[in-house]
Symmetry: C2
Subunit: 213 residues, 2 copies
């Protein structure tokens, strides 16, 4: 099986989301609220996908803060996405993969435009062949149609593509449709024992490039 294109998840996989914690603190909330809120946003996005329905990340992200934060505070928290920085290993990792001949794509459950400033600041915007969002097909990852969207955009069969993510649910969803699933484990986490093993595990994108070169 020859991999020709590498599809990257964006939130947390390429971006360092921890900076959002301070925005919750500025809104008078405990910084740990970031984790609870983000898990709830994914829960509700996946729930809609399981039910055969769809709303945008922005709709769900804001909706899950109402009742706790004011409209101004919600805007402040969500505006933080545009200020996130790429993990330090991302620029070199992407460049090495591109130099090795791989086509590089991003596929996010969020809005594609949201991460454009981050990619520009990291100097990797021109390395990315396309930056896709599940909004184009109105179904969140890990539903099969979301990965098929990336295959269609690349004109490749799914088994010629790898999906790279820090989230086990994303690795698993990609493997279910025949992609190569790569788990990025920067923090020494434990992969869920109830899922099949990833096809590869790397600590960061530099190691990914070394493995795939």
């Amino acid at each position: 099986m020859t991999i020709e294109a590498v599809v990257f998840d964006v939130n947390e996989t390429l971006s360092d989301m921890t900076a959002l914690a301070s925005r919750f603190a500025e809104a008078g909330q405990p910084p740990e609220m970031l984790d609870t809120w983000f898990a709830g946003v994914l829960r509700d996005g996946f729930g809609l996908a399981a039910a055969g329905d769809f709303r945008t990340f922005g709709q769900i992200a804001a909706g899950n803060l109402r009742g706790t934060l004011s409209a101004e505070q919600i805007d402040h928290v969500l505006a933080g996405f545009r200020d996130l920085e790429a993990h330090p290993d991302v620029p070199e990792g992407l460049r090495l993969l591109r130099d090795a001949g791989y086509r590089l794509i991003t596929l996010t459950n969020g809005a594609a435009a949201m991460s454009e400033p981050m990619f520009a600041r990291a100097g990797v915007l021109e390395l990315l062949e396309s930056r896709l969002s599940v909004e184009d097909v109105a179904t969140w990852k890990p539903a099969p149609a979301s990965y098929q969207h990336a295959a269609d955009a690349c004109g490749l069969p799914l088994d010629r593509m790898a999906l790279v993510a820090v989230h086990p649910w994303d690795v698993h969803g990609a493997q279910r449709v025949g992609m190569c699933g790569v788990w990025v484990n920067r923090q020494g986490a434990v992969y869920p024992d109830y899922l099949p093993a990833p096809d590869a595990v790397v600590t960061d994108l530099r190691e990914l490039a070394a493995v795939m070169a």
Copy 2:
């Protein structure tokens, strides 16, 4: 449209899960970990459903604690489910609904046996015609097949049934397949503005019985 059967979600809708927070504290974790963990369990169960796959609540619940808690601590936290009590409004609410002629069913993403001690202690076990789990059909709520399982068990079309839950994702999933969706809002929460309104909103099961009588 005449409702003949009322299907209740179990975790948090009938059971008071807040008692689990002390089990996290006993395991040396902040009690707020309950919310983050439970959101993550639902996220991963829904993710599997969206991907067309299935694992049990027990598998995912334990898996999401590995790496943070020891095996003994995980057992201690999960054993807490058997000690949960029903919300104070549950016994009277169920009895009034049963007296009004409704068939009463539970449908949980967990294991049906897990909540049997709670229903027995609350004196409502004999009011429940059947206690169903999504494990029987290997797909979590809010996927359509989970609700269809309840309809099949009752021998009723979905539009003769109401789904009662504290979780908007459950109310929405039920409405998507044609059930009457009732949101129980004991805590003055805000219903997500990105979902269609529930068919009814009640503060507890006594009010539900009054509305449906």
